[in-house]
Symmetry: C2
Subunit: 156 residues, 2 copies
DNA sequence: CTTGAAAAAAAGTGCCC
DNA sequence: GGGCACTTTTTTTCAAG
């Protein structure tokens, strides 16, 4: 899995730069890492093909995109079997407000991260995912008061 | 804050596309949304300037980038004042393994998301952030067993 | 693995409708 | 918003070290 062994200093530098700003041109990147545009391009293409770079995306400002409220919800299931876990996650991930969904160890079984337009959306989501007829025993809502860090980049 | 009111169907379509793949060219995007390249370019530039698009970045595959283990840690502080909260967060966000850091409501005060190379890194991080001399009363570690969803995009 | 130069493609600009 | 002509920049390609 880990491709770090096959990467040299320049690859890591390129990845760090592209994780910060992938809108920069190849020539620009090449200049910064001290490579010719052609070799630089070959590097970035290789990094894409190898899957180290998963994708190039636009990151929106959630607030300006209308998702003002963020929350984490820790969920304890009633039935803990693999199939029940999967069923719950399958349903949860179809929800647009659910940005992250994890099966976890500890007191609870699942943690969801939510990006909500308003509390009404939270209410209706709870109704769909956590109501009595579902496989949810209890859930603990943590409204996010402050975002101190939210990093897509992985330092190399 | 919310800029949705000023956005029409085409803006939203553009944002959805760019959140999936921002490496596409302007001509390509223009074609898909049914606009001329020039108007499409005006749109995307406006969306960048307005801040709806925060940034264009490369997303790495965490496993292939050497961060195989993910965990969530819910932290309960000893002292809950604003200044103590800030101090803790300020220290936490300097850690490379901490990808997300939130102040939250509920039983605990802070939730961190970690991307770890190995358990040794977790050990040393705990030592720095959670040891006795710090402002941490208790912490609950949730190792992430399965990632069912991890979405950077916001559906519009 | 690298370079440099040439060719092709795309993007950015300005202006007009 | 679309269209166009124009300039600039980027990307690709290729021969070569």
């Amino acid at each position: 899995m880990g491709m770090l062994g096959k990467m040299d200093r320049i690859d890591r530098k390129l990845l760090n730069l592209m994780q910060r700003d992938a809108s920069r041109t190849n020539v620009d990147l090449a200049d910064e890492v001290g490579l010719s545009p052609s070799s630089c391009l070959r590097r970035t293409q290789r990094l894409q093909k190898s899957g180290v770079i998963d994708r190039i995306v636009a990151i929106l400002n959630p607030a300006k995109a209308g998702r003002v409220i963020k929350a984490l919800v820790a969920v304890e299931l009633k039935l803990h079997g693999e199939q029940h876990m999967r069923r719950f996650l399958d349903i949860a991930i179809t929800e647009e407000a659910v940005s992250h969904a994890y099966a976890v160890t500890g007191e609870t079984d699942v943690v969801l991260m939510l990006r909500l337009r308003d509390m009404e959306e939270f209410d209706s989501l709870c109704e769909r995912l956590f109501r009595d007829q579902t496989n949810v025993a209890r859930f603990f809502t943590m409204m996010i008061i402050r975002t101190a860090k939210e990093e897509t980049a992985i330092r190399l």
